[in-house]
Symmetry: C2
C-alpha cells in the first residue's frame, strides 16, 4: 500500500507523507492544490502544516508519484501520476477539470516537433471550455 510506495520512492515513511498520499488516493477529486490538500487534512482532523504539504507534494513530484500542473495562474494543481497519459479540459465557469485521451493529438505533436527538427520531450495541453446547454 502507501507505505510501500513511499519506500520505493526512497522517502521515509512518516505520518504527514502517509496522510497526504492516502488523501490523494482516496479523494473524489483527482486534481488538488496544495491549499486544497491542507484544508482537506484539517477538515479530516489531521494536523499537518501547510509548509509540509508543499514540501511533501514537491518530493512526490520528484519521485514521480505526482504530477504538477499550471492550469491556472496563481497556484499549482497536483494529481497522482496515472497509468495512462491524458490531457485536461478546464471548465472556465466551474473550474472543474476533465481528463481526456486522444491519440491523434499525441501523434500530431510528435509529428510537428519532428517537422521542425526537434524531438518531443514533454507537452502541456489544456482546453478551456464551457458547458453547452
Amino acid at each position: 500500500m502507501s507505505n510501500q510506495q513511499l519506500k520505493e520512492a526512497g522517502l521515509k515513511v512518516t505520518l504527514p507523507r502517509l496522510k497526504i498520499l492516502n488523501l490523494l488516493e482516496q479523494s473524489s477529486e483527482r486534481h488538488l492544490s496544495a491549499e486544497d490538500v491542507y484544508k482537506l487534512l484539517l477538515a479530516a482532523g489531521e494536523d499537518v502544516g501547510l509548509a509540509t504539504v508543499y514540501r511533501v507534494l514537491t518530493q512526490f513530484e520528484s519521485a514521480g508519484l505526482v504530477v504538477r500542473h499550471n492550469f491556472e495562474e496563481g497556484h499549482a494543481i497536483f494529481e497522482l501520476t496515472s497509468e495512462h497519459h491524458h490531457d485536461h479540459m478546464v471548465c472556465v465557469d466551474t473550474n472543474q477539470v476533465i481528463e481526456f485521451v486522444n491519440k491523434e493529438i499525441e501523434d500530431l505533436q510528435h509529428k510537428i516537433a519532428e517537422e521542425h527538427g526537434y524531438e518531443l520531450i514533454d507537452h502541456n495541453l489544456v482546453l478551456y471550455v464551457r458547458k453547452k446547454h
Copy 2:
C-alpha cells in the same frame, strides 16, 4: 501607428502605454514577462513604474492587443496578438520559443470539447522539445 491602436482599443493615449506598446512591437523577442518589459524600459532610459507595466499589460490583454501565457510557473509571459493563431514549442535546452500553426490540432481540439458536451473557449498547448542533431 501605436497611437491609433490605443485609441481603437478605447484607451487614452498616454506616454507609458505608448512606450510599452512600442517596445512590444520593436523587441526582437516576442515573448516577454512584465519584469522583462520593465527592465527593458529602464534600460532604454524610460521611466515607467512596474505597477504601471502590470496594469497596462492587463489592459492590453483585455483590449485584445496582447495575449498572456503561463508557460512556466511563477510568472506570466506576454506576446503581441498576432494575426494568425499559433501554438508554441519551447526548447528545453535553450529556452528558445518557436511558434507553429497546425490546423489539424485546432480542429481536433474543437472536436474533443464537443464530444464531451463543451464549447472550446481557449486552449494552451506547449511542446517541450530538444533539437535533434
